[in-house]
C-alpha cells in the first residue's frame, strides 16, 4: 500500500523535481491519449514536440509564443507570492492592447519614432488600469480580487469586440472584426531575419532581469512575501497591507498590458478578435510550473509555448483537433498540483514500516497556507 507521510521540512529538491515529474507524467498520459486516438505514439510525439522546432523559423515561433507567457507570468508571480490572486491577466492583456492599439490608430499617419514607445506606455497603463479595479475594490470593500479580475476579462473582451465591430473597424476589411493594419511606425522590428521573432522579446528579457532583482533584493518584495505567508506578522511589523495588494495587482496588469501591446505590434499587426490564444490564463500555469521564480518561469514559458506549437502542428499533420493543446496544458497543471504534494510529504510503500513523522494535531487544526518560495 502506498502511504503519504509528512516530511519534517519541505523538500527543496522536490520543489524543482516536482515540475519535471509533472512534465514526464504529462508526456506519458499524452502518449496514451495519442494511442487511443489511433496514432502511432512515437510519430505523434515527433509531430507534437520535435517537428515545430526543427528549423530556425520554428525556434522563432517558439520564442514569440514564450515571450508573452513569460512576461505575464513574471508580473503575476509578484502578486502570487503575496497571495494576491490576479486571475484576470487575459483581460488586462486585452485592455493593454486596446490602449496601445488606440495610440497606433490615432497616429496612423505619423512616422515618428515615438509612436512605438508611446504604445508601450499606453499598453502598460491600460493593463494597470484594468488591474486597478480589483485592487481598489479589494482595498476599499474587501471584495475577492479573484472573482473581480476574472469577470473583468469578459468585460474587456466585449469592449474589444465592440471596438473592432464598430468605431475602429477597418473600412476596407470586408466586414471582418478587425482594425486597420498598423503602419510601420507602430510595429516592433524583427530581430532575426527569416523568423518572426520581434523586439518584444527584449521587453520580456528586461522584465525578467527587473523581476529577478526585485524579488531577490528589494525590501518591498520581502514585505509582500511576509504579507502572503503570515498576514499577522506583516501587521506586527507594520507593513502596509494595501500597498501589497496594489503592487501585486498592478505588476500583473502592467506585464499583461505590455504583452498585449507586443502581440498587436508584433505578429498580429492590428487589433482583431480573438487577440490572444489564452496567454493570460496559460501564464498562471507557467507561473506555478516555474515555481514563481523568474528563471523557472523562463523555462516553463518555453515548455508552454511548445505545447501551443505542438497543438497547431498536430492539427495540421495528424488531423487532431485544436483542443489537444488545451488537453496537454490541463494535464500539466493537474499533474503539477498532484506532484507538489511530494514537497511536504514523502511516499512510502507498505511492508517496510514507514517512519511516522510528527503529525502534530495543530497541523490539522490550522492548515498553514504554504506560500511558494
Amino acid at each position: 500500500m502506498i502511504k503519504l507521510t509528512p516530511r519534517p521540512q519541505p523538500s527543496q529538491q522536490m520543489l524543482w523535481l516536482s515540475p519535471l515529474l509533472a512534465i514526464a507524467l504529462m508526456l506519458v498520459v499524452g502518449m496514451i491519449v495519442f494511442t487511443l486516438l489511433g496514432q502511432n505514439p512515437l510519430k505523434a510525439f515527433h509531430a507534437f514536440f520535435i517537428e515545430p522546432v526543427n528549423d530556425l523559423y520554428g525556434i522563432g515561433e517558439l520564442f514569440i509564443k514564450a515571450s508573452p507567457l513569460a512576461l505575464i507570468a513574471l508580473g503575476l508571480s509578484v502578486g502570487f507570492r503575496a497571495n494576491v490572486w490576479n486571475i484576470g491577466a487575459e483581460g488586462q492583456l486585452t485592455m493593454g492592447a486596446i490602449a496601445a492599439g488606440g495610440v497606433a490608430l490615432w497616429f496612423y499617419d505619423s512616422e515618428s519614432h515615438f509612436v512605438l514607445p508611446l504604445m508601450l506606455i499606453a499598453g502598460a497603463l491600460g493593463g494597470m488600469l484594468w488591474a486597478a479595479i480589483p485592487a481598489f475594490l479589494r482595498t476599499r470593500f474587501n471584495t475577492s480580487e479573484i472573482l473581480v479580475s476574472l469577470m473583468l476579462v469578459y468585460v474587456a473582451e466585449l469592449v474589444l469586440s465592440w471596438l473592432v465591430h464598430g468605431p475602429w473597424r477597418d473600412p476596407d476589411g470586408f466586414g471582418f472584426p478587425q482594425s486597420k493594419q498598423f503602419s510601420d511606425s507602430a510595429l516592433l522590428p524583427v530581430l532575426l531575419e527569416g523568423t518572426r521573432a520581434h523586439a518584444g522579446l527584449l521587453i520580456t528579457l528586461v522584465a525578467l532581469a527587473v523581476t529577478y532583482v526585485f524579488l531577490r533584493w528589494s525590501v518591498v518584495a520581502f514585505q509582500m512575501r511576509v504579507a502572503g505567508l503570515a498576514p499577522r506578522a506583516a501587521d506586527y511589523a507594520g507593513f502596509n497591507a494595501k500597498r501589497t495588494i496594489w503592487i501585486g495587482l498592478l505588476a500583473g496588469g502592467a506585464a499583461a498590458g505590455l504583452a498585449g501591446t507586443s502581440e498587436i505590434a508584433g505578429p498580429i499587426g492590428q487589433l482583431s478578435i480573438p487577440l490572444s490564444p489564452g496567454y493570460g490564463f496559460a501564464a498562471i500555469i507557467v507561473a506555478f510550473v516555474g515555481r514563481l521564480n523568474p528563471i523557472g518561469i523562463l523555462l516553463a514559458s518555453l515548455l508552454m509555448a511548445l505545447l501551443y506549437l505542438g497543438g497547431e502542428s498536430a492539427q495540421m499533420q495528424l488531423a487532431l483537433p485544436a483542443a489537444v493543446s488545451g488537453v496537454f496544458q490541463g494535464l500539466l497543471l493537474f499533474f503539477l498540483l498532484a506532484t507538489d504534494v511530494l514537497i511536504n510529504f514523502r511516499i512510502s510503500w507498505g511492508g517496510g514500516r514507514p517512519k511516522p513523522a510528527a503529525a502534530a494535531p495543530q497541523a490539522v487544526a490550522k492548515p498553514v497556507m504554504e506560500g511558494e518560495q
Binding site: 519534517p8 525590501v219 507594520g238 510528527a358 504554504e370
Partner: protein
Amino acid sequence: MTSPPRLELRGISKYYPSVVANEDVSLTVMPGEIHALLGENGAGKSTLMKAVYGVVKPDKGQIFWNGEEVHINSPAQARKLGIGMVFQHFSLFDTLSVTQNISLAMDDKHHMGKLAKRIEEVSESYGLPLNPHRLVHDLSVGERQRVEIVRCLLQEPRLLIMDEPTSVLTPQAVRKLFETLRRLSDEGCSILYISHKLEEIRELCHSATVLRAGKVSGTADPRQETAKSLAEMMVGKELPICEHPPARTDGAELLVVRQLSRQSEDPFGTDLKDVGLSVRAGEIFGIAGVSGNGQQELLYALSGEKPSKDAAEILINGQPAGRMNPAQRRKLGLRFVPEERLGRGAVPPMSLSYNALLTGHDGEMTKNGFIHHGRMRDFSLNSIERFNVKCGGPDAEAKSLSGGNVQKYIVGRELLLNPEVLVISQPTWGVDVGAASFIRQTLVDLREKGVAILVVSEELDELFEICDRLAVIHHGKLSEPYPARAITLDEIGVLMGGGSLAQTAPADLPTTANTEAHP
C-alpha cells in the same frame, strides 16, 4: 500492590531524521497517581506524550495499559482506552464555537444544545468558566486552554495528560485546577503532568520523571526535593540567579499612556477604560491580570497594530504616537515582543535570517530599499549566538524551532535592534527554566542600560521577580501602580479579582514572592 499500573512505558525510543527525541524511556504511573514529567524544551517530553496519545508511533519499546500491552495507533484509540490529553499548542478551529470545537473532538455524536449545557456545567464545576457559544478566535490564550481542558474532562478519562496547563491561569484558577486534579486523582484518574513550574510540581505531584536530551535523567519524589534540586536535575547545571537591585526612579518617562479608552472590535473582547500608565527609563513596569481582561487590546494599541484616533493618547520618547503604525513607532525606539511567536512575531516558513528582517528592515540590513544579505545573516547569527538559540543556523525555518527557542530568537532580535522602550508580552510562556531565567536576567540587564520596559504577564512569580512597579488590569481598567517590593501576592490577587486595596500598600511588608520565586 494489588492493581497493575495504569500506564507503563518500557524502553520507548523515537528517532526523527535530524534528532533523537526519546531514547530508552521507561516510566510507570499508578491509578490515581499524579506523575510529573519534567525537562527542558526539546528534552522529548511532548514526543513521549504524543506516543502515549497515539499521535506518533515510537520506533522501539512497549506500552502497557492496565497491565496489558497495547499499540496505540491513533488519538481516537487512545481516547477509547480512556486517555485524554490537553496539548500545549491548542488544536482548535478558530472559526468555530467552543461547542462545535468540542463536539468535533468527541468520538461519538452529541446533541449540540445538550453538549453546550454540559460544557457549561463541567466548566463551572471545575472553576474554568466558559461561554460555549463564543467563537474560538475571540478567546484569549488562557480561555482557549480552558476549552482544551474541559474537552478532556467531558470524556471522563482514566489518564489525563496535561502539557503545561497552568501557564495562563491566575493563582486562584491554578488553586481551583489543582483541586480539580486532586479530585480526579482521588476518583482514581491518573494524571501525567508536564510543567516547568517546579513549585507547582512539588505541591501537586506524587512522583516525577525527569528527562534530559531524550533520556531519563532521574526520578524523584518531588515532595522531598527542592525546586532548585529538581531544576538541576533538568538542566544539569547551576541556574543563573536573577539579580534585582532597586530601580532608578529619576529616569525620563519614555512610554506614557493617557486616558486610553477604546471599544474592542471583537464583540467578545474587552473595552479599555481610561487606561493610564507611564514607564520610566531604567525601570520594569509589570501588568498583571487574568487573561482576557484587556491585555490583548492594550498591547495592540501600544504596538500600533490597532492605532488610536488621538495621537496624544500614547507618547513614545515624548512624541505623540497614538496614530502611528508599528513601523513608525519602531523609529521612535519602541520594540515589541508579542505573545504569539509564530505567525505574528515570526514568519513560520521563512528562515531565521529573513525573520531578522521582519523588524530590522529599516536598519543596517538594508540600503536604499535593497536587502544586504550578508549583514542580514550576520545579524541573525549574532542573535542566535548571543541568545543561545538551538537551531540549524540562520537558514533554518522559524517553524522548525521549538517554542522556547523561537522566543529567544525574537527577544534577541528585538534587543539587538537597540530598544529604548520595550513592550514584551508573556516573556517566558512555554519556555523552559534555563531559558526563562536567562530571558529575565536579560530584561534586568536591559533595565540597567536605561531602557523602559513594560512586561505584560500572567505569571505572578515572574512579575514579582523582575518588576519594579506593578499594576493590575481587570475588565479593561488598569489599577494604580504599586511598588513590587511593597505589595503582596494576596493583594495582587484581590486586584485581579476586581477588588480594590483600601489604602496604598504598606511599605514595610516583606516581599515574600520575591524571595521564594524562581531559583
